[in-house]
Assembly symmetry: none
Homo-oligomer: 239 residues x 4
DNA sequence: AATGAATGAGCCTTCATTCAT
DNA sequence: GATGAATGAAGGCTCATTCAT
């Protein structure tokens, strides 16, 4: 707003914002919204106590910003259809979906924060969740729905199809939400790369197996030969 | 409302403890550990501000107590093998397990509290979680493991078997942990009795279908005739 | 609320409240509502920072309490009809009214606080003013109206009568509201006992003179012989 | 909106000063010195946050400037002897004085600001008040003193004369200082033009009546024939 | 044994002001 | 000359906890 008189005043502002966002992500992930304090966030960002209010208005807006940014980062870093050829079979697309969601949720590299904050948000939803659902989760839900549409016979009960989607997502998010329990049940287990591959493969197989049977029941033969169905472009690009 | 010193001081003390536990359960479930205040809990329990510290030492100990009690209640109210004949088939036992866990987690009557507090605990584990895992979750995990042992061929990879257990539990807990998102994605959906039956049936079918296929692959025919295996008592009674 | 367990727990609370009220009166009078800080009030009262919130809820409620108490004290210390015989003549009653109001407003002994806070309240009314008008000012206004009713002929325009009341009160409150200016205009002037007597006498004479003429005009002869009117009990006791 | 360095930088600077003064007058009148914030003033003036400090040094200096300017404006807009012929009778001059002061204090058009800020200054005098008294109030006091000198017999006690002046001013300023109470006592009353005329007339009559009697007592006949005294120029021109 | 008045640390926020540009 | 990002002190308030009774 207005011509920047100093050559890098914008840059300075941006840098401070960035530092605040990073520090806030760490604090919110580690201590939750209530547990994190503006003071600590500012200190960690090397900024003044008033910096949060100056740049974001208040603590809650900062939180909302952090949440949205982390989701965007996670989605960008691990796209739902990473490396898939345009004509990928539905099974491949499901495998990619599962793998990318699992990565977003477990990957230590960035999403430890994302997963933790999301899990907190589930438990203690703030206003930020509304935006998040609208912008990031709903599209993912639509994508999975489309994949299942290709995997299940057209004759299947839509509600059953929806429950299948939830079963798949549930298997994945479980590792995000229940990690503390899992670690206590099997302390030696980790969630590194190898483990993640194993998990992704298992969930994919488990789900495909279930879909096969359920689809076969609802309309015999449907899932029996999924590979023979004509290759379809993704429904999202159609809409 | 004052505590008259005399013959029933023990009774009074017990009553106060009870009232505090109830009030605390409601507050912790509704507002989380941080959000709930000792003052509100005491007021709601009709007790003194200092009652929590007096009876439980501090806020965190009260929380731990509440958590343990709620788990015990939930387990008692919805036993994992409710109404099952001693010789129930593994499929039936799995269905009962799924149904009871889902009930504990979703039932409005008491476990709204349980589910919510557990979900919080996942996100922000306190010392209370260790005890909880040991006393309540581990036994449940063992039980499910035993059921799967009966459902899957003996030749199956133990790790695969374990992952199947997690897939099943994940599908269930998903409804506890992600309710805020589910409500926003499909606002008209509820979790009343009818819905719960539908969910339980779906998760059971989805999981059995998957187990069938995975078990069949690992050792063909294994799941095809589960009933012919000798009836086994539950593993807990064996240990 | 509840039987006091400690013999002087109420006394302790009362003492703290008292100290807070005194300190608050001093601070509010000296610095205004905004200028006064809860911290300073508590320090001056020898109490904790949280004492205000504990005893009064918040700063504003404390202020309201202080205001009401000061008004009550002032009214009690300098009753509007102090030392008047029941059959006092209207002129005497007006003199007493003027004198008592002037005392409340100027008396150094207690009402320096009262006058200053009231003046502030005029300038920056808070919610406390509503209560104050209702409980303390309105009755005084009624009293003066009744006195004027006895001093002015019945035929006088009620609006004129009302304006006369305002003229009288205005002369008095002027010394409360404009003291800073008066001190700067005539630095050697004080408001001690002697001066106060002089002022009261002047305002009484000035006002009676004006009423005499105005009443005489409105209805010739009315004020000309006020003493000859039958002695009346005060109208307030009649209503 | 930025200030282009160039030929009219002086003009721009002056415009900014002007905007700041206007905005500050509005804010100070509406919220008081403490309540008004530098940020809001600058925003309302369309200027930078630092503009106040840049142009006026600090908040208090800006306040002082605003106060002086408003007084000057009020005095200019409603001169104490507006429209009076040079040989106006003392009674006319008193009526004009009362009317102009009342206007300054009540007129919504500009002096709502002036009256309110002055009232605040009475309550919480700042250094600005000294200058104000010297430059604007003292001359007015001298003027009123001169008018009374013409209205009262020469033999009158000077202190009585002074108190009469205060009684007159008190009646007027009352409407400025106690407006919040007046509005609460009689909510339907307004201070529009009509009302102002009525008030001015009443105060003039009330005061003249009182002066008549008091003057008559002190020196019979003095007020009876004020017109016969030689016309005098205003005291200010003499001093 | 049980109370409730009192505590003090700490939270979020606001504000006038400064300073590099 | 004028900006606006950044500052740091301070404010009101909340909370779990303590302690004399």
């Amino acid at each position: 707003m207005g011509a920047p008189p100093g050559i890098d005043s914008n840059a300075t502002q941006a840098a401070t914002r960035r530092a605040l966002l990073d520090a806030a992500a760490a604090e919110f992930a580690g201590r939750g919204f209530h547990g994190a304090t503006v003071r600590d966030i500012c200190r960690q960002a090397g900024a003044n106590v008033a910096a949060v209010n100056y740049h974001f208005g208040d603590k809650e807006s900062l939180y909302s910003e952090v949440l949205a940014e982390l989701s965007a980062q996670a989605q960008k870093r691990f796209p739902a259809e990473a490396g898939l050829p345009p004509d990928a079979a539905p099974r491949q697309r499901l495998a990619a979906f599962i793998r990318s969601l699992l990565q977003r949720v477990l990957s230590e590299e960035l999403s430890a924060r994302h997963g933790r904050i999301m899990a907190r948000e589930m438990v203690e939803p703030t206003d930020a969740l509304n935006r998040l659902v609208r912008e990031f989760i709903q599209p993912q839900a639509d994508l999975l729905r489309d994949i299942l549409r290709d995997l299940l016979p057209a004759s299947i009960d839509p509600e059953t199809s929806r429950l299948c989607a939830l079963s798949i997502v549930g298997q994945i998010l479980f590792y995000a939400h229940c990690r503390p329990v899992l670690q206590r049940l099997k302390p030696e287990g980790s969630f590194d790369r190898l483990e993640l591959d194993r998990l992704a493969r298992h969930i994919t197989e488990f789900s495909l197996a279930a879909l096969e049977v359920l689809g076969g029941r609802g309309s015999p033969g449907a899932v029996a030969a999924p590979r023979k169905r004509p290759v379809r472009t993704r429904s999202r690009s159609r809409s």
